[in-house]
């Protein structure tokens, strides 16, 4: 069975500052993908970034980057230069050979002025 754990139910960051959201996961598979999805108040699920487990290099998408520690089964998301539009629920998500997505419980990010 696959599990994803997000231990921070809520986080807050000031505009223009940097914040890191934590995620740990467990899987018995050697080939898997990890994702961060963002869910703003509209509740649309938006892909932020993805990481292939076989790649050692951490993924980066503009202001978003991950710290993928495969041995520790850790996958954190760093948001740099935070903007008001980054306020949302962030889900850490895992998928393996079965292709279904396993979601964490989410971290609600507040961005303050």
């Amino acid at each position: 069975a696959q599990t994803v754990t997000q231990s921070q139910p809520e986080m807050s960051v000031q505009e223009a500052e940097t914040v890191t959201l934590s995620c740990t996961y467990d899987t018995s598979e050697s080939d898997y993908y990890l994702f961060w999805y963002k869910q703003p108040p509209s509740r649309q699920m938006i892909l932020v970034i993805r990481q292939e487990a076989y790649k050692q290099q951490n993924a980066t998408e503009n202001r978003f980057s991950v710290n993928f520690q495969k041995a520790a089964k850790s996958f954190s998301l760093k948001i740099s230069d935070s903007q008001l539009g980054d306020a949302a629920m962030y889900f850490c998500v895992l998928t393996g050979t079965a292709s279904k997505l396993t979601f964490g419980t989410g971290t609600r990010l507040q961005v303050t002025l």
Partner: protein, 115 residues
């Protein structure tokens, strides 16, 4: 940019009624999914669909649920006799790759309220 669409955006129904939630996946995608998110809880996998048949389903997806791809574009989720606990946001998702776990693209969701 292609996107997944879902209709209706909101649906209110009486307990025991049948509902059909509709999704139009991205046109060249091959794999289709339904997830649900009960208010305040995490997103849960319901079912995956490929080549006109269910490839995997969760324990939530009991006999009250069914999925269908009635034509080349729509993908539907039917709940035969709704219960109060079926109230949730239902998301459709799709992806195209056959060989890797490519990104799933989500629709905007249908908010279902069962009274």
């Amino acid at each position: 940019e292609p996107e997944v669409t879902q209709t209706p955006s909101h649906q209110v129904t009486q307990m025991g009624q049948e509902v059909i939630l509709r999704c139009v996946p991205i046109s060249n995608h091959l794999y289709f999914y339904w997830y649900r998110q009960i208010l305040g809880q995490k997103v849960e996998f319901l079912v995956s669909f490929y080549n006109n048949e269910i490839s995997e389903k969760s324990e939530i997806f009991d006999d009250q649920f069914s999925v269908e791809r009635p034509d080349g574009s729509n993908f539907t989720l039917k709940i035969r006799s709704t219960k109060l606990e079926d109230s949730a946001m239902y998301f459709c998702a799709s992806r195209w790759s056959t060989g890797t776990r490519e990104t799933q693209y989500f629709g905007p969701g249908t908010r279902l309220l069962v009274l």
